[in-house]
Symmetry: C2
Subunit: 316 residues, 2 copies
């Protein structure tokens, strides 16, 4: 499948991403086979529902395709047992690109598994990179923790805001501000666009000591395509800056630092659940602790010590 995908077989790409979504050993195998193949500039696209992210993404696809480059789009869906894939309706317009062989659009469900998604998304990006796509757009829905986590996996993060937001949304913006590399004020033909830009600049000045890249602020009207060339320029400028400053390496190293720790955590837990704390043992221990017959603050360290065994002592 990996060979087929790297030869451009779209069905193979889709199946590899499905394997990654499902997790477990096959997912690890796909990740292992694809991690060193290809390289994609990854653009996160985030902002509140209704801000116009899908329309912007659709326009971006058109602009990128005008340069004949292939690209991938991962649309993150906060699906649940109740909504199913209903939110995808918003993305119907993107399907205008469905017949274009140079565009691979795929939705990934969060299913409430924050950790799972944070792992699966970069691995899906690597599948697309292995399939020869130099650009991947990750589009999220909403402005929660999931978005922040996913954006961390992107090389550049575009945060889409609108003029005239309410105060409650302002509060939520805080989390997005910190991850924004490029601000887009979409629906910039509406009232209040100057005020929103001032607010962003004011918040930027507070944050200036954090950032060496000063996020640009682009005004767009996604429906008409106004501002799209400027957005493309900003995205390219950031790519150049990242490359010139050696930041791709730094960002990827930071990503792998977290990812290796995550892999350790999973591997350690698999090991310990197999040998030192089976399901039945965990169940028994939880019952005892809930009934206050065992102190978990004593039992857990003991379990961990015994798992590592006496040979660990010599290394202390």
């Amino acid at each position: 499948l990996v060979d087929a995908a790297s030869a451009g077989d779209r069905t193979a790409v889709a199946r590899l991403i499905s394997l990654i979504e499902r997790g477990g050993d096959p997912a690890r195998e796909v990740a292992r086979l694809t991690y060193s193949m290809g390289d994609a500039y990854t653009i996160g696209m985030t902002g509140a529902p209704g801000a116009g992210k899908s329309t912007l993404t659709d326009r971006l696809i058109t602009e990128v395709r005008a340069t004949a480059q292939p690209l991938g789009v991962l649309a993150i869906d906060p699906s649940s047992p109740f909504t199913g894939g209903a939110i995808l309706g918003d993305r119907v317009r993107m399907q205008g690109h469905a017949l274009d062989e140079g565009v691979f659009i795929r939705s990934m469900a969060t299913r409430g598994h924050l950790g799972g998604l944070a792992l699966a998304t970069p691995e899906a990006v690597r599948v697309l990179a292995a399939a020869g796509m130099p650009i991947v757009i990750i589009e999220t829905v909403g402005v929660g923790q999931v978005e922040v986590e996913v954006a961390r996996a992107a090389d550049s993060t575009v945060v889409v805001v609108n003029p005239g937001w309410g105060d409650s949304i302002q509060a939520n913006k805080a989390g997005l501000l910190e991850i924004a590399d490029i601000f887009v004020i979409n629906k910039a033909d509406r009232d209040g666009v100057d005020r929103v830009e001032q607010e962003i600049r004011a918040m930027q000045s507070l944050a200036a000591h954090h950032a060496e890249w000063i996020p640009s602020i682009i005004r767009t009207v996604a429906n008409t395509g106004e501002g799209l060339p400027e957005l493309i320029d900003a995205i390219s400028a950031m790519e150049k800056w990242l490359a010139d400053q050696g930041r791709f390496e730094a960002r990827r190293k930071a990503y792998w630092r977290e990812r290796i720790l995550e892999m350790m955590r999973h591997a350690l837990m698999r090991q310990i659940r197999r040998h030192s704390l089976t399901d039945a043992e965990l169940d028994h221990l939880a019952t005892e602790v809930a009934g206050r017959k065992q102190d978990p603050y004593r039992t857990v360290p003991k379990l961990v010590e015994s798992a590592f065994g006496p040979n660990e002592q010599h290394r202390t």
Copy 2:
């Protein structure tokens, strides 16, 4: 401090919660000392910003205090370097209870640490329980993953909605629907209240196979106090149901199951970071992996194996 707190010393309670927020060994010690003291019925209060959670909580405090029971309130704040504690402004009205010795109100900052908060909140609840409070209200801001995690730590979760929400918020509701034990339609004097109730009932009928407790739907106008007696009744009814069905034990066992795994993960990582993967080693490995000189999918399992040592083999 624990002795002082259990004797009702409010300063001691505040300091214990600060220790828990800060994490590390002192937090573990506080958790260890308080985990088996006291018992509190914990009510999560969640919903979108502006839905009226703070006003409802304020009213609930008044109702509970009319029965002379003491209670604690933990207000979860999505603080960031930018907003600081600004959002607390919303909660100024609760400060009307500041002089009441029977009410302990405390804000806890999320600071973006989902995992940290999910651990700290139940431990802060146990401090309040140890200080003799039979009821603790956890109020969150917003409708994200943090809210869902925090709500899981509560015995009963109240989800506050308003009439006439937009579609984008409807989507977000999905995550909350699954955790709601009691729905409050606040601002029920506004148009659209029937439609919201119908929507909730429709979604409930889809979810019916999940739940044995059928979430009640209460209409309130927090500003006037309308519907508050009904809300108190619903909260009490759920407490009785949980007790009758032995669900407090089941929920607490489920909580400890997750918590023990979390404690294991932390303890394992502490152990391995000390012995097998120091900061410098992790840094080196991340550089190698980012530069594609090492395959993390081979290295990590090897590291884990070597950490457990050969004695582990005999137990396989």
